[in-house]
């Protein structure tokens, strides 16, 4: 390399007009105008009301449907124009957030205002609760993914760990007669799949994505087989767990909106949120976290300074199995109280997507899970207020929203550098 190329202004990269910022700005401007011109005429003159309470009885704020739809559409368009024209970097995220919220609000103004009188109100407390409940297994599953992948082992087997966890929880809790044994059994269930993943990926160097896919089928087959051959013959003896209790934290649970959601909850809520904090803190602030990240990015370098690469990977994969198994228990000890064939219904894959969407960080995984949970909760809510959109399309909402978010806003994501690469000393 010669020194002449370094500071030579003539070879500087040309300034492209269509930067990412301009494209996002244009996208929002178009979306805003479309929202105003489509949702506005569709909305009615009735009020669209929103309340912070969990029922429709609480005090609420409202806006006339048509006015609201047009207004919020134009706000989104304005945010888009502002992004397009160019704003300082720190304002970019704020404006993107504003744009998204405004488009969603314009849509809601239409939907809520067309609901029959008396039901044209959105109880935000209820939506928030549903959001978190639907997000819980995803949070736990994507955390399991983060634990695995930050140390360099791809974990596609979250679905399998969920299923084994759900099965173990139902079996353990029924046989022992207490949900706490069920939780332990769930963790062990997840651990079994994680152990297979660890040994085959780390010791026998199997392609990890392939392995994950196969372990999912294995778990589906195994739990299905045992369910049909053993459980289904005597449901009361093997498949009738009770629900985990709800713990009310006094004072804190009286905070409006978030209080009942966060502090009048069960072991899964507290566990998931605590684990997000623990894993985030662990990864960024502790020796274990530093080593995990080192092993995930550059195992050879980590090995050189004396980190036991394989041992750390084993430990993290097994930990992930415990977390995902615990997440699986949610399906049989909270959302329903019995195990059923393939009952996780692809939640593990959604959790995987949430982890990638969240860029392999605990906080990102939490936000991505909440995003997905919110879309699902919104679909529920719209179904309940007799939306003119067919329920099947409402059910598509979280999936379509995720595709749009991933394609439009997130784009290329970077996995840990050594993710999926088996480590063999001396290579």
């Amino acid at each position: 390399m010669t020194s002449t190329t370094v500071d030579d202004p003539t070879v500087a990269e040309p300034v492209r007009f269509w930067t990412r910022q301009r494209r996002v700005g244009l996208g929002f401007a178009i979306a805003g105008v479309l929202a105003a011109s489509i949702f506005g005429p569709l909305a009615t003159e009735r009020q669209a009301r929103i309340t912070l309470a969990e029922t429709v009885a609480g005090t609420s704020v409202g806006i006339t449907g048509t006015v609201g739809a047009v207004l919020f559409g134009l706000i989104a368009a304005a945010a888009g124009v502002a992004i397009f024209v160019g704003v300082p970097r720190r304002w970019f995220a704020v404006l993107v957030g504003l744009g998204i919220v405004a488009v969603v609000l314009a849509f809601l103004c239409w939907q809520i205002s067309q609901a029959p009188e008396g039901r044209n109100i959105m109880p935000l407390g209820d939506v928030a609760r549903t959001t978190l409940l639907l997000a819980l297994p995803l949070i736990l599953g994507s955390l399991a993914g983060v634990l695995c992948e930050r140390s360099g082992v791809i974990n596609v087997a979250i679905e399998g760990q969920f299923l084994m966890g759900a099965f173990g929880a139902a079996l353990g809790a029924t046989v022992a007669g207490t949900v706490w044994v069920g939780l332990i059994a769930a963790a062990i269930g997840g651990l079994v799949i994680a152990a297979m993943l660890a040994v085959l990926a780390i010791r026998y160097l199997v392609d990890q994505v392939v392995l994950g896919i196969v372990l999912n089928v294995f778990a589906l087959g195994l739990t299905g087989f045992l369910y049909k051959q053993i459980m289904a013959h005597d449901q009361t003896a093997y498949n009738q767990p009770s629900r985990v209790p709800t713990w009310d934290i006094p004072v804190l649970s009286d905070i409006p909106l978030l209080g009942p959601v966060l502090f009048r909850a069960n072991v899964f809520t507290y566990g998931a949120l605590a684990l997000v904090v623990i894993v985030h803190f662990g990864l960024t602030r502790t020796r274990w976290g530093l080593r995990t990240r080192a092993v995930g990015e550059h195992p050879t370098a980590a090995d050189t300074v004396g980190v036991k690469v394989l041992a750390l990977r084993y430990r993290n994969v097994l930990l992930a199995g415990l977390v995902a198994g615990f997440g699986g228990a949610y399906f049989t000890l909270w959302s329903t109280t019995n195990f059923n064939l393939g009952m996780t219904n692809g939640a593990g894959f959604i959790a995987l997507a949430a982890m990638i969407f969240g860029r392999w960080t605990p906080i990102g995984a939490l936000l991505a899970s909440l995003f997905f949970g919110f879309s699902s909760a919104l679909a529920f809510f719209l179904g309940a207020i007799a939306s003119p959109i067919p329920s099947q399309f409402l059910n598509m909402l979280p999936y379509v929203a995720t595709i749009i978010a991933v394609a439009g806003l997130v784009g290329r994501v970077r996995a840990p550098a050594a993710d999926g690469r088996p480590y063999v000393k001396g290579q």
Partner: protein, 437 residues
């Protein structure tokens, strides 16, 4: 394990010649000895066969564990081991005998037929193999759909959704368009391929343009396709007249895949689908080995950066690969609708897309390997049905066996360790490309 059984990074892989040829030292070694030596060295065929054996053992253990009576016998195993052992043997051998009788041939019906006694008949003799080939056809398509994308370095988890869209395309043209015999079938198949291609194009295009990860987008599109199907089949004009549940009109006879063994009896469902599947396998093999696109596809799969440097458009290739893979999966869905199901229902394609992932992997992402794997999985499915109805072993056992086989096939080092095979070179055993996200 020795390091040379390791697929360390992306790299060699590709079309390494299959390892059937033992590379022993040249010399006056007798053929038989050389053959045996080659056999006991870990090559593709040996590993696959041993993987099947191991999976059957795992399945046998599950059969024994799940039987309450036999479990009770193991309670007094040390007092009278013969009870437990003979009961176990009986149970397992009965189950696996039915697996064979239901998928290949049942000696009992053959004997009855040859003696002209009741319970025989050529339709009954051919029933198992007909069922196997019926199940194999869609699996071959979906397996190819996964394998082709895999060779292009993409994880096509969306085979299921693409198959659903294919089923929709084939189904709609099958009962909405009044077309003459022959033309109708071709149009329906093309529509099915188009439906799947559309569902493959979207993630391919998004990946190429925005970098959206295909694993996320294909997973999401699976659900979108499923809900779309659920909405479509209850619309007026599509729902079967006189029905209130979610089922569409059946496709016209002119659009149905002709049954090949119809003269022998109406129960033989084997149809033209398997022939189309073989043709598709040949076409994919040609595409991969002989065409420019296939070369670019493999190059991008092995090393996208090098391909870009060499002047291959990675974006175009990625989009095309996913589109073609989607079309194949769409044909898989069509084969079900036009061959066996005829009406669209919510679960019309079953889990053919997800099973296709396993088929593609078991076939080591090579076209003819995929076809063999599809035949094998079809046989397991057909035999599993008989095992379920006759031996009372639920069909999920087949899933377990399939998964375990693929685990072992993907972990040649593990199989070699279990059976103490001599190690082979890395290229012999590679499943595909070991790479990250």
């Amino acid at each position: 394990m020795t390091a040379d059984a390791v697929p360390p990074t992306r790299g060699q892989a590709g079309d390494a010649p299959s390892a059937a040829e033992p590379s022993g030292p040249a010399g006056p070694e007798p053929f038989a000895a050389r053959f045996l030596r080659g056999l006991w060295r870990s090559n593709t065929v040996t590993i696959t066969v041993l993987a099947i054996v191991l999976a059957m053992v795992v399945g046998a253990l599950l059969i024994i564990i799940s039987d309450a009576k036999i479990r009770a016998m193991y309670g007094y195993f040390f007092a009278r081991p013969s009870d437990a052992l003979s009961a176990s043997w009986h149970k397992v051998s009965d189950a696996y005998a039915n697996l064979f009788k239901g998928s290949i041939i049942n000696p009992d019906t053959v004997a009855l037929t040859l003696r002209g006694q009741p319970g025989g008949g050529w339709d009954r003799v051919f029933f198992p193999i007909s069922e196997t080939l019926t199940y194999a056809a869609p699996l071959a398509f979906t397996g190819l759909a996964f394998a082709l994308a895999f060779r292009g370095g993409l994880f096509n988890i969306g085979v299921q959704g693409q198959a659903i869209m294919g089923a929709i395309g084939a189904g709609l043209t099958g009962f909405l368009l009044p077309l003459p015999v022959g033309v109708h079938l071709v149009v329906a198949l093309l529509a099915g391929a188009f439906g799947g291609a559309l569902w493959g194009f979207i993630p391919g295009f998004l990946k190429a343009r925005t970098g959206a990860h295909e694993v996320i987008t294909t997973i999401m599109l699976n659900y979108v396709a499923l809900y779309f199907l659920g909405w479509l089949i209850i619309q007026n004009g599509i729902r079967m007249t006189g029905r209130t549940d979610a089922i569409s009109e059946p496709v016209d006879r002119s659009a149905a895949l002709p049954r090949l063994l119809e003269p022998l009896g109406p129960s033989l469902r084997m149809n033209l689908g398997i022939v189309v599947a073989v043709l598709a396998t040949w076409a994919v093999a040609w595409l991969l080995r002989r065409s420019t696109f296939g070369f670019e596809l493999r190059a991008v799969g092995l090393n996208p950066d090098a391909s870009r440097t060499a002047g291959i458009s990675v974006a175009v290739t990625t989009t095309l690969v996913m589109t073609v893979a989607g079309a194949l999966a769409g044909l898989g869905g069509s084969a079900i609708v036009l061959g066996t199901a005829f009406s669209l229902t919510n679960a019309v394609v079953g889990s053919v897309g997800f099973d296709g992932l396993l088929v593609g992997l078991l076939g080591r992402a090579k076209p003819w390997g995929v076809l063999l794997a599809a035949l094998f999985f079809g046989a397991l499915q057909a035999g599993g049905n008989r095992m379920q109805s006759v031996s009372n072993i639920s069909l999920e056992l087949v899933n377990v066996i399939q998964a375990v086989i693929v685990v072992f096939v993907a972990a040649p080092a593990l199989v070699s360790a279990v059976f103490r095979l001599r190690a082979a070179t890395a290229a012999d055993l590679q499943t595909g490309m070991a790479k990250g996200w």
